[in-house]
Assembly symmetry: C3
Homo-oligomer: 340 residues x 3
């Protein structure tokens, strides 16, 4: 059960609704009118809760769950205990996300605080919420149902589509964003890239004259920094998920649905194709091309272009197989030394 | 001498007060009424100052100090010059911290800015300070003497105990915190964890339905991000010290008195026992158990569970001894190559 | 062409003005009155634009540029096409920065928002701009033409010179800064360093009684944290450029014109000489001395002092030559293993 101080839950959903929302296949004869009242983890779920199980480590707990229903892949059917309703999904994680989001919908209550600053030239769509201390600058254009939280700052000229959230103290400038974009608390979008000419006479600033273009359905985590382009644009493609404290430098281009885990650093002008996954703390040198579906393990250092579908590890990064060989070789070396 | 533009100092403390506060043993016959007026570093301290020395590198400077008194371990007694009063401590660093805090006490002057936003349903204890631009949401409960600084944001339902500080532009949501918790400027606590199901159809959000539970006497550094739990809670135990720009992912649990240095990344669902120390930029993969008192050197990569008391280095991390062997082996290899 | 929603451009500059501003040598007989209207990248520039080319990769695009004029080093003259005016520079990157800054000058329009908080004891020079939600505390002193953006926080006693910018939601405390200092959005300057004595009884805070001293012409990136000194000061020298999400711990001293790339961590009391360059994600252990002009490659780990002019790589870092040898040795080892 979630903490009602923080979360607003729907009272209940029928099995019929759940099946439709979650893209689920029901057992023959399941009662579509049965009401479920919450989602819960496999060990805490009760008879009115929906739970889920889809990774091997969940198989044992599944056998003992007291949940009313469980979202599972077909191959887990045999582990679902008697009396628990199996809800079969081709993608149980996705199905769980859809069902849980239906129990805990994002609702934006229209409200404009008189302690917010909204420039008279700014345009807000229907149903927006602007909390105290939020700043919305000259000529900003926001779509419908945007939620601009306390002390967030949206600087002049920024445009965002519908259903966007700008978290508390986040800042957005020089940016054009699509719909369903969630900028987390304290993320910083659109500031100057790291541009200067350094010489013995000292540094000279190189003006950063580009923008940040963000697609639809994008999330950018807390503390993450996305610099605007130096001349062209920094681009974050549709469906990208960027975790906390990531650095995205000027002119970086991310394709669709890239997943960038916390504390990754992407140097200037890198271009990622679609569905690239970078683990925590990975570093990318500048001007690299990263192929579609490449997967880079945590803490890797990428210094050259990456072919599509590659799986890389280490700093400098090599293939996973080569990395394992290196580790084994190192172990053998130190063993030899002990034996000598 | 500290800069009075920034620091408010007590006029003086007697030796008797200092000894009591600092858990110090005085030499026989020391005058308890002697007044000291400040703390100072060993090379700058004068006759009315208290200084301290407890690491080997301080032994030489100690011999030349002009301080009035010096906090030392018993074994440093022989290096204390004539005319300088030795104040013996079993833990000189702790004693210095206690004495310096007595000269520079944290005083919160009760004040509520009319440029703050405080929701009518919020409850503040006695003696709180709320500066301009601070935001305190619906049903927030704060204890006594809390100091909520300029443009800090405390979102709905958050509860904090007595003597808490929320620094400028820090944000706190979905959080229950104990007393004496210090959230540094620009730290972000309680936002959504990195939860989604990614597929070829794009990402689906997995609602993050847990909280952040913080114990007593905890400090969380600037720019650090602590995500709330996905289903259960993220937990920071009593006495933890977390430095700047650290990432603590959803469902992480830290035991008591863990020390997490800057830019560490802790992936989801890791569980740390008490007194774990992680050096700067260490990365922890998800779902690991880190035993009590483990010490992880800076930049290490932890990919497996860690036994209590382990001392690890490298990425992937190995024991300190093994790490040194690897380095020596590498050096020998490259030397051989040169000789060939 | 830049996006006029975000950028204000001068209408035009004459060749004579451009040559003077950019420290450029013109071909004999060039018309000093010819007017240029913008800067543009080499592939997009038209006949009224100034572009630039100075790295080998730009040689081919240069041959096909349609720009009106191009800033080049003398040795690129032969690649400048007929009809394009070559503007010769001893430092083309610097020249471009100067010229582009002239087309896009930083103009601060004097304005004080009534939604800002300015303590009655604060002193602001002529022509400052203070946006809504900004906080300027007791006894703060700002020079002329400072630009304090939305929801920025400058705490009591801080002093900054002329032409400083404090970005949206940035925080500055316990700090004395020179002129032309740019604190990016969400940077945090002057908070407590990571100071405490940990023992089995728990932590005891060690008060952080120093300051942050910042020279002239310094930029500090978004999300970067610069802690104040514990007893002495943290110092950032003239002309330093610090990128996003960098950690600068208490008592660190940076010399002149150091370049610190994103996500670097510098532990307490390190001292950098002038013109040190640290690549992304480098970590420095505490109390190290880094010699003038040292260059540290991305992701390196520095555990010992560094001699002036060194070029280091790896973790722990070695010379670039040694690092390359290590990589080759590792590759040979794994190859041998495959052959065995």
């Amino acid at each position: 059960m979630t903490d009602t101080r923080f979360f607003d839950k729907k009272e209940g959903l029928t099995l019929g609704e759940i099946a439709k929302i979650g893209e689920l296949k029901l057992p023959d004869g399941a009662s579509l009118d049965r009401v479920f009242t919450d989602v819960a983890s496999i060990d805490k779920a009760g008879e009115n809760d929906v739970t889920w199980a889809f990774i091997p480590a969940m198989r044992e707990p599944l056998k003992n769950t007291k949940a009313g229903a469980v979202i599972v892949p077909e191959k887990f059917l045999e582990f679902v205990p008697e009396g628990v309703l199996p809800l079969i999904s081709a993608d149980p994680h996705r199905s769980y996300g859809l069902v849980a989001s239906a129990f805990y919908p994002t609702v934006v209550e229209s409200y404009i605080s008189d302690k917010a600053f909204i420039h008279p030239t700014a345009t807000l769509g229907d149903g927006c919420r602007v909390e105290a201390g939020a700043f919305i600058g000259e000529n900003v254009v926001l779509g419908s149902r945007c939620d601009i939280r306390a002390n967030a700052v949206i600087e002049k000229g920024v445009q965002m589509g519908d259903d966007c959230i700008v978290g508390a103290t986040a800042t957005v400038s020089h940016c054009l964003a699509g719909s369903k974009v969630y900028i987390y608390p304290g993320a910083h979008i659109g500031q100057d890239g790291f541009g200067f000419a350094m010489s013995a006479k000292g540094p000279v600033k190189v003006p950063q004259l580009g923008r940040v273009i963000i697609g639809n359905d994008v999330e950018i985590g807390s503390g993450t920094t996305v610099d605007r382009g130096a001349m062209g644009d920094t681009v974050i493609g549709d469906g990208c998920r960027i975790d906390n404290l990531v650095q995205v430098a000027h002119n970086v281009k991310l394709g669709r649905c890239c997943v960038i885990v916390s504390q990754v650093g992407i140097a200037g002008s890198c271009e990622f194709s679609d569905f690239v996954v970078a683990g925590g703390q990975v570093g990318f040198a500048g001007h690299l091309k990263i192929g579609a579906g490449a997967q880079i393990a945590a803490q890797s250092g990428i210094m050259t272009d990456v072919a599509p579908g590659s799986i890389l590890m280490g700093s400098p990064a090599v293939s996973r197989v080569e990395f394992m060989r290196q580790q084994i070789a190192l172990q053998r070396l130190t063993k030899k030394k002990k034996e000598e």
